[in-house]
């Protein structure tokens, strides 16, 4: 039986960071609005997810996901999965109602729109965390790498369509990609976890192993990165 994920709250510190707050906390009024927006969003967020675990093999043209048509291309994903015999591929979404509430607020209340957008981004990461936990439970004895997103580094965004088909994601959780490989509904994520029975050294994401190292907005001002 699949486990149903329910979000009871959203990581508001994370959302505040997306809104640009780093060393300061949002003021009282903004905090109040963030709380209102959180309550409104939680009413429409319906977390859905799908994942599958496959054996993988490293070939010249990329990492083959065995038993499927999926090939993971690019140096960065190859490095990321090195030492792994299996990989979990997953897709999560907050569902389409979130898109609608964002659209409505963009028309009549931009403040709430940007706050909800940031909250939704934080929420989708939380759902990913939950799915990671579920995967851990289902494959005991394995440790896993951090989540490597489709389109991250040189892992081509054009993998999106076949990635979704492999998970049967359009049918199972209603996630599709546009011609430009953008996921719809918008607050959705596709990513890969490397799994290994041996110890791995890339279980946590850090500035050093990030493809945006030295380029990202968070580190431009010389301070430490995004905090992930």
């Amino acid at each position: 039986m699949e486990k149903i994920i329910e979000l009871k709250n959203i990581n508001k510190n994370e959302a505040a960071r997306y809104l640009g707050y780093r060393d300061t906390l949002p003021d009282v009024e903004t905090t109040k609005t963030i709380l209102e927006c959180e309550a409104e969003l939680l009413k429409v967020i319906r977390p859905q997810y799908v994942y599958r675990i496959f054996d993988i093999s490293f070939e010249d043209d990329g990492v083959h996901v065995l038993g499927t048509e999926l090939v993971l291309k690019g140096e960065s994903i190859k490095n990321h999965l090195s030492g792994c015999k299996k990989a979990a591929i997953m897709c999560v979404t907050l569902s389409g109602e979130v898109d609608k509430i964002l659209r409505t607020n963009e028309v009549n209340n931009m403040l709430r729109a940007i706050i909800m957008d940031a909250l939704a981004n934080a929420a989708v990461e939380q759902v990913c965390d939950e799915v990671e936990n579920i995967i851990e439970e289902n494959i005991p004895g394995y440790c896993h790498t951090w989540r490597f997103g489709v389109g991250y580094g040189d892992f081509p965004l054009s993998t999106q369509k076949i990635f979704l088909e492999t998970l049967n994601a359009p049918k199972q959780i209603g996630v599709c990609a546009t011609e430009s490989c953008i996921l719809t509904p918008r607050k959705s994520v596709t990513c890969v976890l490397g799994l290994s029975a041996d110890k791995l050294d890339n279980t946590e994401k850090s500035c050093e192993n990030c493809s945006m190292h030295g380029k990202c907005a968070f580190s431009k001002d010389g301070k430490s990165g995004c905090g992930k």
Binding site: E2, R103, M110, I114, E165, T166, T178
Partner: protein, 791 residues
């Protein structure tokens, strides 16, 4: 045998089971394209079909679920080849049997606008190609659909290009909705209206969990109902399903008792399931009964049952509204959307949409408005135009079951409008007037209502879908007419049993204190049987009268809705008054902008206009305050939410100034025109929308083309508005190409305008490389650029 004969002669119709399940057992890789096997392994398909026929299937689905041009693009085969091969394989299997062949069509695999980028029109074309390729099948089935608009495009494509009978099944989750939020009643009302031959559910859940969905569906349709569940739920690791054939059949038998006619299996089911099912149903009798379907209209996610007075909001209509007319001419969709949001918040349950203006192309405006309004509100719409072509265009793209406003008692009107109402499965407002105008006598209006009803019935429109408008006359001019209208409403309601609709506000034209007359007349009309008052819900005495009426008549059980509406309103009012009282000292516009006080900003601006020139307010107060906020934002002293809040106060202040200027007919305050767009293929437009808010508050006129904008549309807008600055945004590496192409096209057309670009993945270097004139790192910088270019 034909599909309708099958329905008539058999107690129950048996469909086949899973196809993907069978193909994967036979070596199809996960993520592989099943349709290619139609050509590479025809014998496999024929043998699977045979297994299902042997198991007892009356109808088999051919292997064309994903055979659309989008999904098949990289297979090297055409849609036509793959579909015809599938038909051929199936015919080889059915030869010598009575089994029918269903052309099986699933979702395209891309979401439609506004969540995705696929337009309704493109979806229609994609389905059209498949149904034409598969016209040799015995029927067509659209299955596993989750978007009501997508399946509507599919049904229209089948109806307009083939004679095939149509079965439709959608996929519901435990919350009784599809992934896109479509409800069961919404599906049933819409698809029965469009002329589907059978409707139902498939996939997603096992038969036990589908029970409540099926029960709800049976309440909302008289069509044969289809159930094609999964074999329970898949295990996420092994992908095995958890319900065996016997248990599967047990639940299906319960559904036969509920009134289901057509049975089959979806993912995880095999010929064993079908065989067991067939056996279990033997000797059972079909329990379908004809029932009265509730009078109702719907969008994709909201069904409004007309079982008590329902408010139709009248505000989306340019008649007598200068600002609305300007918005239509400027194609300012946000203005219209705000009218929609305001009315639904005030209590409107259905929205009338009229965008007729001689200066504009009403048809395209109507289509754009219907699409945009449905993107942000759940309220069903009443499509309002005097031009049949406009109504038909709106009816096509409308998602759900709308009301058509209107037809009248003239033959020409009846014979033009009613066929459209029938074809698209809408409800219709019938005005009780004819070539001689509005009869003074209420009884004569009743006669016209009867004529409209009879003609509607002749066209196959059922009586619960005919709403009669007995027409409100102006009390000051025709005082005796008031009781005639009320009398006609009562007779139509009592004697014809039809729902009634009435535009209310006209009653008080030419009188002082109109509001008082309006809501008193509204109460009278409601008591005489008015179901659908068309009113301005933003006037609280109007929506309040309807709410109070529903309470007093016992529709609003335990006064729940009434209390909900006014408890919140009162609390909100108190809060606002407090806030204003606390700040009502000598605060300035600058203070209001710094502190995000929207109401104060507007109020102070009104005060200032009494003694100050409007441009002075803009240049000496508004813009310096915004500059200050922008400066603080740049320095990291304030953050995006505060910047936006300041901008919203400025927007409120600007609104006051614009109203003032338009009332004085002075020149506009625009500092120049800027065209902005999120480029083709990209749908991340929040950044662009933030830029828009800021630019507008600096007094620039912003022509917002939206997201996923064609290259040519940008060029056209620059030409049309003679814009000197264009802002383009893109958020994905995959859409930067579109940005480059848009810029190329602007340059090819030798347009005298500067181009600024922005977006997360963009860098100043890349901006230069694609020949943009400016790179804006954030919304604040776009304002600096605008100042530099336009002053």
């Amino acid at each position: 045998m034909r599909f309708n004969e099958l329905l008539e002669t058999k107690e129950f119709v048996i469909l086949d089971g899973g196809m993907g399940t069978m193909l994967q057992k036979n070596g199809l890789k996960i993520g592989g394209v099943p349709e290619v096997l139609n050509i590479t392994r025809p014998e496999l398909l024929t043998s699977i079909h045979r297994e299902y026929i042997d198991a007892g299937a009356d109808i088999i689905y051919i292997n064309t679920f994903g055979a659309n041009s989008y999904k098949m693009k990289e297979t090297g085969y055409s849609v036509n080849e793959l579909v015809q091969a599938a038909v051929k394989n199936a015919k080889a299997a059915t030869a010598g049997t009575q089994t029918l062949i269903a052309l099986d069509i699933g979702p395209i695999g891309q979401l439609l606008e506004p969540t995705g980028t696929l337009s309704f029109e493109s979806a229609y074309d994609i389905f059209k190609e498949i149904v034409i390729a598969g016209k040799d099948a015995d029927l067509v089935v659209f299955e596993t659909m989750t978007d009501l608009l997508e399946i509507k495009a599919a049904v229209l494509a089948a109806k307009e290009n083939t004679d095939l009978p149509i079965m439709c099944t959608m996929t519901f989750e435990r919350n009784m909705r599809t992934f896109t939020g479509c409800g069961v009643s919404n599906m049933a009302l819409t698809l029965e209206g469009l002329g589907a031959d059978a409707i139902g559910v498939n996939c997603s859940l096992g038969p036990d969990e589908l029970m409540p969905v099926v029960e709800e569906m049976l309440r909302w349709t008289n069509l044969p109902v289809i159930v094609k569940p999964n074999a329970g739920l898949p295990d996420p690791v092994t992908n095995e399903y958890d319900i065996l054939p016997e248990e599967f059949s047990k639940y299906m038998l319960q559904m036969a008792d509920m009134g289901v006619k057509i049975f089959g299996g979806c993912c995880g089911t095999t010929p064993d399931y079908i065989r067991t099912l067939k056996k279990a149903l033997e000797g059972k009798k079909y329990k379908g009964v004809r029932k009265q379907i509730p009078a109702a209209v719907c969008s994709s996610s909201e069904t409004v049952e007309i079982n008590q007075p329902r408010i139709i909001g009248e505000r989306i209509n340019p008649t007598g509204k200068k600002k609305f007319k300007e918005a239509l001419i400027k194609h300012d969709m946000d203005y219209i959307l705000n009218q929609a949001i305001e009315q639904t918040h005030a209590g409107a349950e259905i929205l009338d949409v009229n965008v007729g203006l001689p200066e504009i192309d009403e048809k395209s405006m109507m289509v754009d408005s219907v699409k945009a309004i449905q993107g942000i509100t759940e309220a069903p719409l009443q499509l309002d135009s005097t031009i049949p072509e406009v109504l038909e265009a709106a009816l096509r793209v409308y998602c759900g079951k709308p009301i058509v406003n209107s037809v009248n008692g003239e033959d020409k009107s009846l014979d033009t409008i009613l066929p459209l109402v029938k074809k698209y499965g809408a409800s219709v407002v019938g005005l009780t007037l004819d070539k001689d105008g509005i009869p003074k006598d209420g009884d004569k209006r009743f006669e016209i209502a009867k004529k409209i009803l009879n003609r509607a019935l002749e066209y196959g429109i059922s009586r619960e879908n005919v709403y009669i408008d007995c027409l409100t006359l102006t009390a000051s001019a025709e005082q005796d007419g008031v009781v005639e209208t009320l009398k006609a409403v009562k007779r139509v309601k009592d004697e014809l049993g039809l729902k009634t609709v009435l535009g209310v506000s006209n009653i008080s034209f030419g009188l002082p204190n109109r509001e008082r007359v309006n809501h008193t007349f509204l109460a009278l009309a409601l008591e005489n049987g008015l179901d659908l008052p068309i009113i301005n819900p933003n006037i609280s005495s109007m929506s309040g009268t309807v709410r109070a009426f529903r309470l007093l008549k016992g529709y609003d059980k335990n006064s729940r809705e009434y209390i909900e509406a006014y408890n919140i309103e009162q609390a909100g009012n108190e809060k606002q008054t407090d806030k204003q009282a606390g700040n009502s000292g000598n605060i300035t516009l600058e203070y209001a902008i710094d502190n995000g006080l929207k109401n104060d900003g507007a109020r102070i601006t009104k005060e200032m206009l009494k003694t100050m020139d409007s441009m002075e307010i803009v240049n000496e107060h508004l813009i310096p305050s915004l500059d200050k906020a922008g400066d603080l934002f740049e320095k990291g002293k304030i953050f995006l939410p505060q910047l936006i809040l300041s901008a919203e106060v400025a927007q409120a202040a600007f609104g006051v100034i614009k109203d003032y200027i338009s009332s004085k007919s002075q020149d506009s305050v625009s500092k120049g025109i800027i065209v902005i767009a999120t480029v083709k293929g990209d749908i991340h437009d929040i950044g662009k929308n933030i830029v828009k808010v800021l630019l507008e508050n600096y007094g620039y006129t912003v022509i917002d083309l939206g997201k996923d904008v064609d290259y040519q549309a940008v060029v056209d807008a620059v030409k049309e508005h003679d814009a000197k600055l264009v802002g383009l945004s893109a958020l994905m590496t995959t859409t930067l190409v579109s940005m480059e192409k848009t810029i190329e096209l602007i340059h090819e057309n030798n347009l005298d305008c500067k181009i600024m670009v922005g977006g997360a993945v963009l860098t100043p270097d890349y901006a230069k490389q694609i020949h943009a004139d400016f790179y804006a790192k954030d919304a604040k910088e776009s304002v600096d650029i605008a100042k530099q270019v336009l002053g």
